[in-house]
Symmetry: C2
């Protein structure tokens, strides 16, 4: 589409724009009574369910870089990071409300792409898009997503329930999203240095997808339920394994032992980390944005967890006084330190452990 | 406090900052099972209740002007505009999640002021502050608030239920918030022209409060319930009476007749409008941000509504073909046109009536 055929946001105005972006949205879940179009969405949950609420912000220039983040992927990822919070509570996302603030340099077509990604995520995960707010900003693009989900009453899993001797488990593999980001940033620098350079992305599909189009592990929630396992604690890995295991240990007032050799790392992640001269385990521990699940289970569930595909046991919970320890491949025991992404500090650094 | 004693956001980091801002928050409602501190808040609502969800964004430079908006008031107002959406559905707010994105020019003390205003609103309206996200932005302050509320199952009131001959009612008085804004903008211009000029705000307390510290009319929800009145349709007045009555008529597929002489306008609002050479009825129709309730009731509830204090009957609903009409004080019948605030068009203009 040529530049002059694009539609300015001001051509439609707030109500016209919301109509345009949401006209094809129809709620499907029984728990949604009324979706978009009134002062509030109306929901109803049965007595047997607890309700989950989570909110995440995605800010241009802080959480994403428009130079390499396709708008549709951005919409998809904005939804997924919140769906992942529902999985982290042992629940499923059911409704979503979205706030988008955009500067006037964005067009209706650009916003439609973001919405298309969000709608796709809703379709795949069975979530109803039930409302929101779209407005202008003086600078950049800010996306705020709130997701409402459900969990069987009493089956919600907190960060605080881990007990000494519980097994520490992680789904999928780690560090890939961070390696994908490093590749994209490298190609951006190459392009900035010489706009004739073509981006070198071939062969890196898996880690690029981990960065640009992550998934929420609601399938693991189902698999655990099917295996009759209720985790004792759970969190999703948004800031890196190190940061998240510390959250679990601090909330549960425990220590932990994690084995470097047990960290699940994909071969491509391993190779790319090496090419950047990064120890692969460091990518897995501190990379972030993998949106895998980190959880603990009772030792009595050991046989059951072996039957769940795509889950690794990486260590065990200890008494608080034993601290949070990593056993390296050369059998050293070192402190686990959170070096996750801290948007407020704008650099990777030690997280305040209050 | 002197400038050098203020705390930079980066001194605390994301987790430290969230701890600092939320450490004194304790949930009080039975429907809140788990508040701040995990991947999601956990709620439970009984079978007898429907759940309401609403989200509003407040963007610096679009929805508020930091030069005259005290931070504590900004926090209070951010909560109230969402609480008002709950009232507009005939419900009550119960939980709130907040996303704040701030540039590095804000200090911890500034954010604490915003939070103090939000906490005050929660305390007054019986709402639990159950979670959120705080992050950095490249420019300015963006506040995103999602409120969860409750309404007796089947008692939710939509915009779409008005029927011909229903009476149109409005709570409180209109136009005051807009006059307050005009006073603040006038004094800002005077200050910019000559920084030695002291702001002339005396005697304008009522309209300044309407602009800076609005309230949500949950008391009207209670009063209607006590009077055994279930409105046929309802909306809150955020964009001006004209825009809102058009929303009700379009959603309900009706027309309406509104009488200029019945519009509730406070004497101070009237006088200040005159001083700005604005017809007071225009301030009431198009001013916005009053957060009063506009609702329709069956004619059979006429005797009951007379007993409800602070509610005026301003007209009645007609067939759709009759259009949306204002009967002026000199007995002319003119079209009601929405000229409410449209953040995307950045000027007061006709709203796309799609």
């Amino acid at each position: 589409m040529s530049e002059e055929n694009l539609t300015k946001l001001s051509d439609l105005g707030e109500f016209g724009l919301i109509y345009e972006l949401t006209k094809d949205i129809k709620p499907k879940n029984d728990s949604t009574i009324k979706g978009i179009g009134d002062d509030a969405a109306v929901l109803h949950y049965p007595e047997s369910k607890n309700i989950l609420v989570s909110k995440d912000l995605l800010i241009e220039g802080v959480h994403f870089d428009m130079t390499f983040m396709p708008l549709k992927h951005l919409g998809y990822k904005s939804a997924i990071v919140n769906f992942s919070d529902m999985a982290a509570m042992n629940g499923k996302p059911k409704q979503m409300v979205v706030g988008i603030a955009v500067s006037s340099r964005y067009t209706v077509e650009a916003l439609s792409e973001i919405y298309a990604g969000m709608k796709k995520a809703c379709e795949i995960y069975g979530v109803d898009f039930v409302g929101g707010d779209t407005t202008s900003s003086t600078h950049g693009l800010h996306i705020s997503v709130t997701v409402i989900g459900e969990v069987e009453k009493g089956k919600e899993v907190y960060r605080s329930g881990a007990k000494p001797n519980d097994l520490i488990c992680v789904s999928g593999d780690l560090g890939g999203a961070y390696m994908g980001l490093l590749i994209l940033e490298r190609e951006k620098r190459a392009f900035q240095a010489d706009p004739n350079v073509q981006p070198q992305l071939e062969g890196n599909d898996y880690i690029l997808q981990r960065q640009l189009k992550p998934e929420a592990r609601t399938d693991i929630v189902d698999a655990l339920s099917k295996a009759d396992i209720l985790p004792t604690s759970m969190i999703d890995i948004s800031d890196g394994l190190a940061s998240e295991i510390i959250h679990i240990c601090e909330s549960s007032k425990t220590g932990c032992v994690v084995y470097e050799e047990k960290l699940p790392i994909d071969q491509l992640t391993f190779d790319i980390a090496k090419s950047f001269q990064i120890v692969p385990a460091i990518a897995a521990l501190n990379g972030g944005e993998d949106y895998e699940l980190l959880f603990t289970i009772s030792q009595s569930d050991f046989e059951k967890i072996k039957a769940v595909e795509g889950v690794e046991i990486i260590g065990y919970i200890t008494e608080e006084s034993a601290g949070q320890r990593l056993i390296t491949n050369d059998n050293q025991s070192i402190d686990i330190e959170a070096q996750g992404w801290d948007a407020l500090k704008k650099k990777r650094n030690n997280v305040d452990k209050k």
